[in-house]
Symmetry: C2
Subunit: 98 residues, 2 copies
DNA sequence: TTCATTTACTTTGTATTTCAAAGTGAATAA
DNA sequence: TTATTCACTTTGAAATACAAAGTAAATGAA
């Protein structure tokens, strides 16, 4: 069990970050506003979690203008996807009894 | 996704509490020392997480003497088991794409 | 041109959480 | 009597999470 627990990634323990990552596993790009709506969080809160994931290089940012409005979208890096998969696998093992 | 996220239980977000609960899902009783060894945590840390789970009534304590030594063991309540299952289901749904 | 609005933040400050380390009381062991 | 073990509790520091308010850059409306 110790070995399983050590694959539980602190960066993904939080609900918001879990939500961000799973959104980015399913959709290649998700915008700031979509995430905000999806996760029901404030701008500041979301921004800080995104920054945390960015710092770990689990996600990357793309900034552009869409319909003449600034638009920031995020994508999971391959490192991020791998790390998230490991985390999920650890959870599954833990749950699946030992 | 909002509805899934709201089933993510804050009480189980932490690694130690995740470990405690999954140990108690598989084994009816687990002692303080077994948990400590299993989870690789200090007494104080473990005690505080156990107390948190106890406060939520997700686990119960049994105190007795075994081989003339004090022994404290823990078990998940049915409420705790249900809550943990819900949490796990939410995680699975989240991961299983949306 | 000026003012308002939107986006995507940053900053600030507070509250909560987490954790290790040290201390404690009750019991047994030497 | 002193030491040791168990299962904590207390203390305190550090990290985390969060809302609220503030901000810059761009567009839109008057």
């Amino acid at each position: 069990m110790k070995d399983i627990l050590k694959n539980i990634n602190k960066a993904f323990e939080n609900k918001v970050r879990l939500g961000v990552m799973s959104a980015l596993m399913v959709n290649e790009y998700v915008s700031f506003n979509e995430l905000k709506e999806l996760l029901n969080v404030t701008d500041g809160n979301l921004a800080s979690h995104l920054k945390g994931l960015e710092k770990e290089e689990y996600i990357v940012v793309y900034k552009e203008f869409v319909d003449r409005k600034p638009n920031t979208k995020y994508a999971a890096t391959s490192v991020g996807k791998e790390a998230f998969k490991k985390h999920i696998e650890a959870l599954e093992k833990l749950i699946g009894g030992k």
